[in-house]
């Protein structure tokens, strides 16, 4: 069974960039996309998602709120928030939701660590 990554961003262009980066680092992984929080939750309900990269600044529910919501249902899923800078208020909530940060704009180097940490976690959780 392969690994599936969920990419959530309201900009299609941004989703393409993330998908390319993931493809370069983990060519065997499957990618699924959503353009807002509601779509993301639908995707999560429908199928198997192993890890997720969420854009922080989305209209409606932002990435942090989505992460908090997801954390309740998926306690072990590696979740990353893509953001340009991190404010103190955001840190505490992200820490509480056990979400990690990756720089925006997304690059291979920027998500490499998140992906390898996620791979480590998935092996540890699933054996």
């Amino acid at each position: 069974m392969g690994t599936t990554v969920l990419i959530v961003d309201d900009s299609k262009l941004a989703r393409i960039v993330v998908a390319k980066a993931i493809a370069a680092l983990q060519p065997g992984w499957t990618k699924v996309e959503a353009s807002n929080a509601d779509e993301a939750l639908a995707v999560l309900r429908d199928g198997q998602v192993d890890l997720a990269i969420l854009d922080f600044n989305m209209p409606g529910r932002n990435g942090l709120e989505l992460a908090e919501h997801m954390r309740h249902r998926y306690p072990d899923m590696p979740i990353a928030l893509a953001t340009a800078n991190v404010q103190d208020e955001v840190i505490a909530r992200a820490r509480a939701a056990n979400a990690t940060f990756v720089s925006k704009p997304i690059t291979e180097d920027g998500i490499r660590d998140f992906l390898s940490g996620a791979a480590l976690k998935l092996r540890a959780v699933h054996g």
Partner: protein, 80 residues
């Protein structure tokens, strides 16, 4: 191979990532007296470093990577 055992020496080569910590750990558990050779090592992930700090094997060899050589290896106190 990043973690390779030759005789009683565990060679750490190239970029040792998080996953390599498990391999190193099981080798050390099997042979607690083993020495570690870092001559060909280019990076040690934190998980690998903490295994070395926990078990304190002798570490030998002059790593080619300057950061490892000057800053990380000296922290592994039994370095010769």
């Amino acid at each position: 191979m990043t973690v390779e055992v030759v005789g009683n020496v565990i060679h750490l080569r190239g970029v040792c990532a998080a996953e390599d910590a498990e391999a190193l750990l099981s080798r050390l558990q099997a042979a607690p007296q083993a020495e570690i050779d870092v001559t060909a090592c280019r990076h040690l992930h934190g998980a690998v470093v903490q295994v070395l700090l926990a078990f304190r094997p002798n570490v030998r060899g002059m790593a080619e990577d300057i950061f490892l050589r000057d800053w990380v290896i000296p922290n592994l106190a039994a370095h010769r």
